[in-house]
């Protein structure tokens, strides 16, 4: 299982999402690799990903993908992240 977090710079906000996604996965007892990347490299980095976590602003730019694109509103709300990850993975 590979999860990619996407933001404009591939650090900062996608880093927050990566850190919190890893915490939630551990809590849920799920194994996955979480990679933070910038929007410019999404096609390459997310080619083999099952889930892409991002903000609404990037959905259009991500374009066609086999991965499940999940929009996160509050990056610090691990309950929201947990709920949406469970749906995407489950």
């Amino acid at each position: 299982m590979k999860i990619v977090t996407i933001c404009g710079a591939g650090i900062g906000s996608s880093g927050i999402l990566k850190v919190n996604a890893e915490r939630v996965l551990q809590r849920l007892g799920l194994e996955a690799t979480v990679v933070a990347a910038d929007i410019g490299s999404v096609a390459r980095v997310a080619a083999d990903a099952q889930v892409i976590l991002t903000s609404a602003e990037f959905v259009e730019a991500i374009g066609p993908t086999r991965a499940d694109v999940v929009v996160i509103e509050n990056y610090f709300d691990t309950d929201e992240l947990s709920r949406k990850l469970e749906v995407a993975i489950g």
Binding site: C7, A9, G12, N20
Partner: protein
């Protein structure tokens, strides 16, 4: 997993900003004043929002201003700005913004250590308004450090 040390110059309380650009610039200036970045990094932080939209507003009332590592970054750094009057970034859910965090990292992995510590601090949903209302720099440090230990 520790935050870069928050020098006095990296914390700006009750700043006045007319709009989001000014708010981000104040966070950038604080990074420049701390010796961590040049003003080009501030320009790059503003450009990120112009190019991609207000996605840096990652939680209610909080913007995480940042750009890519590069020549404009001299050291890993963090700045914290609280606004005297909240400003709108045009975000669908999280406006208005009362706290702007400026983040600079020499390399992506350095960024990650700092963002992990930030996540520790702000996963507590009360932390954003506590920082926004902090009366002193010491109070800001206390909120971030208390969360770091938990």
């Amino acid at each position: 997993m520790t935050l870069p040390e928050l020098a006095d110059r990296a914390i700006v309380l009750r700043a006045r900003a007319a709009d989001w650009r000014e708010a981000v610039r104040i966070a950038g200036d604080a990074l420049v004043d701390s010796g961590c970045t040049t003003s080009e990094y501030t320009d790059a932080m503003i450009r990120m929002v112009e190019d991609h939209g207000p996605y840096i507003v990652i939680a209610p009332g909080l913007a995480l201003a940042h750009a890519r590592p590069g020549g404009a970054v001299r050291c890993d750094g963090l700045s914290v700005v609280t606004l005297a009057g909240p400003v709108d970034f045009g975000h669908a859910h999280h406006d208005p913004v009362r706290v702007v965090i400026g983040l600079a990292g020499v390399a992506p992995d350095a960024h990650l250590a700092a963002v992990a510590a930030l996540a520790n601090a702000f996963n507590d949903s009360a932390a954003i308004s506590a920082v926004a209302d902090a009366p002193t720099r010491e109070a800001v440090r206390a909120i971030l450090e208390r969360s770091e230990r938990s």
